[in-house]
């Protein structure tokens, strides 16, 4: 079976996110003065072939921890997405 996942990687809270800050600073000039806490991260879509969802998810968690994110500066979340075959 194939399982589709989304991995969301974001900079840890407390770490300055210059990209997010720049976007946040631009929003008031476009009329949105009511926005705060803008953070920009990464969105990684992938499909894993495995014998079952738990095994597929465990592999994605492992690749997110070892490779897709850096635990010093980033947090990640693994979401299962629609579209498993």
């Amino acid at each position: 079976m194939k399982y589709r996942f989304e991995v969301l990687v974001s900079l840890k809270e407390g770490l300055l996110d210059p990209q997010g800050k720049t976007v946040q600073d631009a929003l008031p000039s476009l009329g949105w003065a009511n926005v705060s806490d803008v953070r920009i991260g990464k969105h990684i879509d992938l499909v894993v072939e495995a014998d079952g969802e738990p095994e597929a998810r465990a592999q994605v968690e492992e690749m997110a921890r070892r490779f897709l994110s850096n635990p010093v500066i980033e947090d990640f979340r693994v979401l299962q997405a629609e579209g498993a075959e």
């Binding site: 300055l16 210059p18 490779f67 010093v72």
Partner: protein
């Protein structure tokens, strides 16, 4: 016998040629080693050069750390062999967990390319060495920073020309003004400034000598007598 210094070339390395040339200029025997190699050709020291290995995709150094040659580099470092990581090389060492912390986007977002002054920690010596990076801002957790400081593992800090520490002279927002740092056993050194671009007096300041002298002295100790 001159110590043999391996300079690793990853796809996207840029400063490997300058590093090879600097090694020769400073009295070592440079050896070029490809990232797909499984051994270091009997090298007495290793340099991970600057550049944009694997296009800096995902994170700087994140893919290079899994290159085949890195297993040999890790084993070499664990045996006390001197390893120098410059700029992208520093980023690779952090990603590999061979140095603590990480290097993130510069404060102010700009790529910075200019000469800076760094203070050799534990001395009053100030070196002039160029930097050129977009992601050179050293960060680590509070616990890691406290440990790095208490163990005296900061090698270089950004400073004024006379060695004064001040945020005004910090080009990228690095925590504690850290420009370079040692591992626990002081066999691995990573730094953002480029010593290989500062070794030839005909071309400018020679702040890089200090770094290569450490590397070649440590390498010489491993040369069989």
């Amino acid at each position: 016998m001159r110590p043999r210094v391996a300079v690793i070339t990853f796809p996207g390395s840029l400063d490997d040629r300058d590093a090879l040339r600097a090694v020769a200029l400073m009295g070592g025997e440079p050896i070029s080693v490809w990232h797909a190699a499984h051994d270091l050709q009997g090298a007495d020291a290793v340099i991970l050069p600057g550049g944009f290995s694997y296009g800096d995709y995902l994170r700087t150094g994140a893919i290079a750390r899994f290159a085949p040659v890195m297993a040999a580099v890790r084993t070499f470092a664990e045996s006390g062999g001197p390893v120098l990581g410059v700029c992208n090389g520093f980023q690779i060492l952090c990603e590999a967990g061979m140095l603590p912390g990480a290097l993130i986007r510069n404060r102010g977002l700009s790529f910075v390319c200019r000469w800076v002054n760094v203070r050799v920690e534990g001395t009053n010596e100030v070196l002039q060495i160029p930097i050129k990076h977009g992601e050179g801002r050293f960060v680590a957790s509070e616990e890691q920073l406290a440990r790095i400081e208490s163990e005296g593992r900061v090698a270089f800090r950004y400073c004024s020309p006379d060695g004064t520490l001040d945020e005004a002279f910090n080009p990228n927002g690095a925590s504690h003004g850290i420009a370079g740092l040692w591992n626990e056993s002081r066999s691995v050194l990573g730094l953002m400034p480029h010593p290989e671009h500062a070794v030839d007096a005909d071309l400018g300041p020679t702040g890089g000598h200090h770094v290569f002298q450490w590397l070649l002295t440590a390498a010489q100790e491993r040369v069989p007598v």
